[in-house]
């Protein structure tokens, strides 16, 4: 009787699961906005402010403030660089005490606990890069309700859970850059695979969604073979990339690395499989991690923005918000040495266009 019940329920569970599975590309299901196939610059539509508002924040104009930065995880080069940018801005501003602390795995449960505890410790401002846009929002809204200024960078939360979000580069711009470079290197009808972070990480999901629509529009013969998740873990990214190479053999001509950990790991996998030059590796990565592969001509182009500038801009924006110089309805903000940054999409602040590192310029950068 017990055995039959167990068997029945196990089959039921599996049936439910299989019935609701679908091929997954890794993208989210929000509307996409592909750019033109040529080099026409995008038009940016104006939108009313849709960010959150802190409840009764104290007057912080000109006063010293305590800020904590909680990135997706600590201990990887990318967030070390953003942390450096934040520290740089804090030093320049002179009246900010900034600290970076976060989980050692890209785990939303722990990130939420960190933010929760810092709210209790009485910080004035929180900077964050979210592991999950929905899961992080309740604790950020709690921070807003306590009068804490909340600014995000790199990976967004839901708009009303933070005041501003520093968008490093428009999502469709990054998608265009990645796909155009891949089509140039691997060919218009190449089979490509994607190594991404986790299922719901907001920025990766957005990029992949934009990449799919842009490729369908401008490079329709590109075939997307598979998307695998590697959770910003070096070993996992390497083994996932190797599995892709072994699984698809000659069919895979290009691998997209969607995180700064996945791209060097995929390049390493391609190098160790002896397929340098036969499989193109294009992705987002810090220049230091990619220098050996670019020098060997294994990787021709690396797309990124400057994460130090990203951290710097985030800190400047938080200070401007705390001081009240940046308010809902502002169209631009002065961000120290970066000059005036534009406000787009209601409550996002644009850092700039994506930057492509190639063999010619990668040695000029050190992060």
């Amino acid at each position: 009787m017990l055995k039959k019940a167990l068997l029945a329920s196990a089959t039921l569970l599996l049936a439910v699961g299989v019935a609701h599975s679908a091929t997954w590309t890794g993208g989210d299901d929000q509307p996409t906005n592909p750019l033109a196939c040529d080099a026409t610059p995008p038009t940016v539509a104006a939108k009313p402010y849709d960010g959150g508002v802190p409840t009764n924040p104290p007057d912080r104009k000109g006063k010293p403030i305590k800020v904590v930065d909680v990135p997706k995880l600590i201990g990887i080069g990318y967030f070390d660089a953003t942390s450096k940018g934040i520290a740089e801005a804090a030093k320049e501003l002179g009246n900010v005490d900034a600290k970076t602390d976060g989980p050692t795995k890209a785990n939303i449960d722990e990130q939420v606990t960190f933010i929760d505890n810092y709210i209790t410790s009485g910080v004035d401002g929180i900077l964050f890069a979210a592991n999950d846009p929905v899961a992080i929002s309740p604790v950020l809204k709690k921070a807003l309700s306590k009068g804490i200024n909340v600014v995000g960078y790199d990976a967004n939360s839901q708009p009303d859970a933070r005041q501003w979000f520093i968008n490093q580069s428009p999502f469709n711009g990054i998608a265009k850059s990645l796909i155009d470079n891949m089509a140039k290197e691997a060919g218009e009808d190449a089979g490509v695979a994607i190594v991404t972070s986790t299922f719901t990480t907001p920025n990766q999901a957005r990029w992949i969604a934009e990449m799919s629509t842009y490729a369908a529009k401008c490079h329709p013969k590109l075939q997307f073979l598979e998307t695998v998740e590697a959770q910003e873990d070096n070993n996992l990214s390497f083994s996932q990339a190797t599995t892709l190479i072994n699984k698809y053999g000659d069919k895979v001509k290009g691998i997209f690395g969607m995180t700064s950990v996945a791209t060097p790991a995929s390049a390493e996998a391609v190098t160790q499989a002896g397929k340098c030059g036969k499989i193109a590796v294009i992705g987002l990565a810090t220049p230091n991690a990619m220098k050996p592969y670019v020098a060997k001509d294994c990787v021709k182009s690396v797309v990124l923005w400057n994460p130090i500038d990203l951290g710097y801009a985030a800190m400047e924006v938080l200070r401007a918000t705390a001081d009240g110089t940046l308010k809902p309805g502002s169209t631009s903000v002065k961000a120290g040495r970066l000059g005036e940054l534009a406000v787009i999409n209601g409550s996002e602040i644009l850092l700039g266009a994506p930057f492509v590192f190639t063999k010619d310029n990668i040695d000029k950068f050190n992060f």
Binding site: V16, D101, P103, T104, T120, S121, F199, T200
Partner: protein
């Protein structure tokens, strides 16, 4: 008799807890406030609920490594039953909890019917259930639950977080079952000597089946509370939960070899761990320092408790 009471592991632990609370309060004025304490209780509730079941299991000399994966699986199933299958949310919750209990029952089944050591069996189901969760979710996180659902994880009832009420109720039931009922005494007997227990007429297989199923049931409840607290479901929820829970249970004085341990000890261990995590962060220690402190505390408490036991054993 009084000497026995004084040198029990639980008493030493309580003294350590009091000491830690005093030290941490001096380090930060934000620590010992009602708001912070209630908030920490809210964060601790999920681990606590799972810890109740884990205490029973470790007292029998077994272990359950799959609780984190069951939590993740239940979280995903909740989303699937509600959004994809379209059932009303209360029905989805009940079904999800039932599935989690079945998962626990399956653990018990493998352990009792096929005599697989609990460590191996639950290590295997840790991977199995996590894989099922990821496969079923296929990347989609479910969001947009109705507001009444969030009261469970984010709301208060009479000023106390909702999940704390649930935890306290379950804890009282657990203390009663383990400490007072014949079933509870049977659990200790199984942990001390399973063969002798069987020959004394205790139904060992039935008891083990029930506690592993109970562990699955409690992990499911924790899963529902978790989803309510972060307002979304993801397949990687609960990763690493089992290690935190086992640390709390062992810190509380339950012997990993079985036969000894109380729910009260587990509660003290939990509170001590959570107090350390909160207090150290407020005092300015970063994440890595806190993990080291918990590890040292665990080693220290086991050594001290063993020293006292060596002196009192005849």
């Amino acid at each position: 008799m009084t000497k026995n009471l004084l040198v029990r592991h639980e008493t030493i632990l309580a003294a350590l807890l009091a000491l830690a609370l005093v030290v941490l309060t001096t380090q930060s004025s934000h620590f010992f406030t009602v708001e912070n304490l209630l908030n920490q209780c809210r964060l601790m509730a999920e681990m606590g609920i799972v810890g109740l079941g884990m205490t029973f299991i470790i007292v029998t000399g077994g272990i359950d490594l799959s609780v984190g994966s069951i939590l993740g699986l239940v979280a995903i199933l909740l989303g699937v039953f509600w959004k994809n299958v379209g059932l009303p949310l209360p029905v989805a919750i009940v079904l999800a909890i039932a599935s989690g209990s079945l998962a626990g029952l399956f653990n018990g089944f493998i352990i009792t019917r096929f005599n697989v050591p609990p460590l191996i069996a639950t290590l295997a189901t840790l991977a199995l259930y996590r894989g099922l969760a990821e496969g079923i979710s296929e990347s989609h996180s479910v969001r947009g639950y109705p507001d009444w659902f969030y009261v469970l994880g984010q709301g208060d009832v009479w000023g106390i977080p909702t999940q704390l009420w649930v935890f306290l109720a379950l804890a009282i039931v657990a203390i009663f079952i383990l400490g007072v009922t014949p079933f509870g005494r049977g659990i200790y007997a199984i942990g001390s000597n399973a063969v002798a227990a069987r020959f004394s007429g205790i139904s060992v297989k039935r008891s083990l089946l029930s506690i592993y199923a109970a562990s699955g049931f409690l992990a499911s409840i924790a899963g529902v509370i978790f989803v309510s607290r972060v307002s979304t479901t993801r397949s990687d929820m609960g990763t690493g939960l089992e290690l935190d829970v086992i640390t709390a249970v062992v810190l509380g004085g339950t012997s990993i070899f079985g036969g000894r341990g109380t729910i009260v000890g587990t509660l003290l261990g939990l509170i001590l761990m959570q107090a350390l995590k909160s207090g150290l962060l407020l005092a300015g220690v970063k994440g890595d320092g806190t993990i080291m402190a918990i590890g040292l505390m665990l080693i220290g408490s086991v050594i001290v408790s063993n020293l006292f036991r060596m002196n009192t054993d005849g």
